[in-house]
């Protein structure tokens, strides 16, 4: 019996979320005394992976699948599962993982639970906690099938270093033809993605117009943060749709979420509430967001944000 942790990568390096996924799987492998296998597709730098305790690292290096393709990646993981008698596959909450997981679940005839936020609370039946109703609640879900797939939300499980000396195996997967062709890719330049960021700086209609967003971008750049916005801001075309967060946009589960000129409507809060620490800057002391935040400043964003940025720059200079 084995457990597979599938990790996402970018530029042939594991993404930050990888170590959370491996730690989660490690915990299960210890409970079930099963072998832990990390599966990495087109990844060179595997050193760091060994700090999280896998028994094996299976790498698939194949130029023909350098672009992510959910059907092909699911097929490759499936082949590895079959070869290694795998019953549990653990993935992260990244867009690619969530794209391939339902496909893999059919191949493996596995029950699949997404948005999981805690270690299994029970193994008979196998039970995990996940978010529901766009983070307005949680629920316990059990999986009854023999094979199980779990995708965990980012920042929901503690990474734990356990040094191991894994065997590294190159796997020569049979690659099916792709029926979908990538015609082009348009990468947003230099931006940190909301899913990857430790800190997200988000702003709403209180910023008055797109011409003022340099204030938000400057603060984000000081904090090495991703930028996000409320729904009306993207509907108005002030910011790209990819920055829209909330119940109908992207979920945010980051360490620090700074909301500037955002009122805190229920649909906005639903999507961002699982962030660990929330700071609100708003000139209306009655703004509902203050009821859902950890730290609040009542003030004019046009004064507070540049000042805060200067002070943070000084702080960073001192602490680095």
């Amino acid at each position: 019996m084995s457990i597979i942790a599938y990790i996402e990568s970018s530029n042939r390096e594991p993404k930050k979320s990888a170590y959370e996924v491996i730690s989660y799987a490690k915990n299960i492998s210890e409970q079930l005394s099963a072998e832990l296998i990390v599966v990495a597709i087109n990844v060179d730098k595997t050193n760091e992976i060994s700090n999280y305790g896998p028994d094996k690292i299976i790498v698939v290096n194949n130029q023909s699948i350098k672009n992510f393709n959910p059907k092909i990646y699911a097929e490759v993981i499936y082949q590895i599962c079959i070869k290694n008698s795998t019953n549990h596959v653990i993935l992260g909450g990244g867009a690619d993982s969530k794209f391939l997981a339902p496909i893999l679940s059919i191949k493996l005839d596995a029950g699949y639970v997404s948005n999981v936020v805690g270690a299994p609370s029970n193994y008979e039946p196998f039970t995990v906690k996940r978010t529901s109703f766009s983070n307005k609640s949680f629920c316990d879900v059990s999986i009854s099938s023999k094979n199980k797939i779990i995708s965990i939300s980012s920042n929901s499980f503690e990474k734990k270093k356990i040094r191991s000396n894994p065997e590294i195996i190159e796997f020569d997967a049979e690659i099916p033809d792709s029926k979908i062709t990538q015609a082009s890719v348009d990468l947003s330049k230099g931006n940190i993605s909301i899913a990857d960021a430790d800190i997200v700086v988000s702003a709403g209609r209180g910023m008055k117009g797109p011409e003022n967003w340099h204030l938000i971008e400057n603060l984000a750049s000081t904090l090495n943060a991703a930028t996000a916005c409320s729904k009306p801001v993207s509907d108005l075309g002030w910011r790209p749709h990819s920055e829209h967060v909330g119940q109908t946009g992207k979920p945010v589960a980051t360490n620090l979420y700074i909301a500037i000129g955002i009122s805190g409507a229920i649909q906005h809060l639903a999507g961002v509430s699982s962030s660990k620490v929330k700071v609100v800057i708003n000139n209306d002391p009655e703004a509902p967001f203050f009821k859902a935040a950890d730290y609040g400043i009542v003030g004019d964003a046009f004064e507070v944000v540049p000042k805060l940025n200067e002070k943070l720059k000084a702080f960073k200079a001192e602490n680095n």
């Binding site: 339902p102 906690k129 099938s145 620090l256 859902a292 943070l312």
Partner: protein
């Protein structure tokens, strides 16, 4: 062109989320159900193909009779026929299996589902259908064009947008971008009247196997009191974030 839109019926986004039966069931009391927002974008895109390419639109839901009000709204927006598979939705596998079974012999060119439903946020059903039926699948889809039997779609990926092409049949997981917010249609009187005459077929579920089960719901713990910081004392905020919250 034949289009099927998968519609999940979800609590209106402003709903207060409460539970009953010892926290094992969602409390529908006073809750208004609506077309899942991602599916509404999809349905609106389907309407565009209906107007431009003369496509036909069926909508499908796996759920109980109470969902028919929502299906009637989809008909009022402009779908031609609604199908309800008469079964309480237990998990995504059971929903996907039943929809797949319905689709099997129907030769739909395009199946439009949402990226995720906003109640259970599974992001599962369309991917499962694509694998059960072995058809092309693109999720997080923010743009879709059809030309004959070819589709060109844009997918939002982490850090950018990719443009993909493939042949029909195709199933997508749609989201905002497919159409703009301002394109969403509110049914007019004529649409509502017509919807009453349109077919809403109820069919028996093909199977009821499920692999996951929800046992108990929890509300998030009450938030601790917020700490307010004077805008003239921003050093205090930095101190709190650094020493207390330890996030910078």
């Amino acid at each position: 062109m034949k289009i099927l839109v998968c519609i999940s019926c979800v609590p209106d986004t402003t709903s207060k989320i409460n539970f009953t039966n010892n926290d094992t069931d969602f409390d529908t009391n006073g809750v208004q159900f609506v077309i899942n927002p991602n599916d509404e974008f999809g349905l609106t895109r389907a309407m565009w193909f209906k107007e431009k390419n003369n496509a036909s639109i069926d909508v499908i839901n796996v759920g109980e009779q109470s969902n028919e009000t929502v299906l009637r709204k989809a008909l009022a927006i402009g779908a031609d026929r609604a199908i309800r598979i008469d079964s309480k939705a237990i998990d995504s596998y059971q929903v996907a299996k039943n929809i797949s079974n319905f689709i099997k012999e129907k030769s739909y060119d395009l199946i439009i589902a949402g990226r995720e439903s906003i109640d259970y946020n599974g992001s599962m059903v369309p991917g499962m259908i694509s694998e059960i039926l072995n058809i092309n699948f693109i999720t997080n889809c923010v743009s879709l064009e059809i030309n004959g039997s070819n589709a060109t779609a844009k997918r939002e990926m982490e850090g950018g947008i990719e443009t993909l092409t493939c042949e029909l049949p195709l199933i997508i997981g749609g989201q905002k971008g497919l159409v703009e917010e301002s394109d969403l249609k509110i049914p007019n009187m004529r649409g509502i009247m017509q919807a009453r005459q349109k077919p809403l077929d109820v069919i028996a579920p093909d199977q009821s196997e499920f692999k996951t089960k929800t046992h108990k719901f929890f509300k998030p713990e009450d938030k601790k009191e917020i700490k307010m910081v004077d805008p003239d004392n921003l050093d205090k905020l930095i101190d709190l974030l650094h020493n207390e919250a330890k996030v910078i």
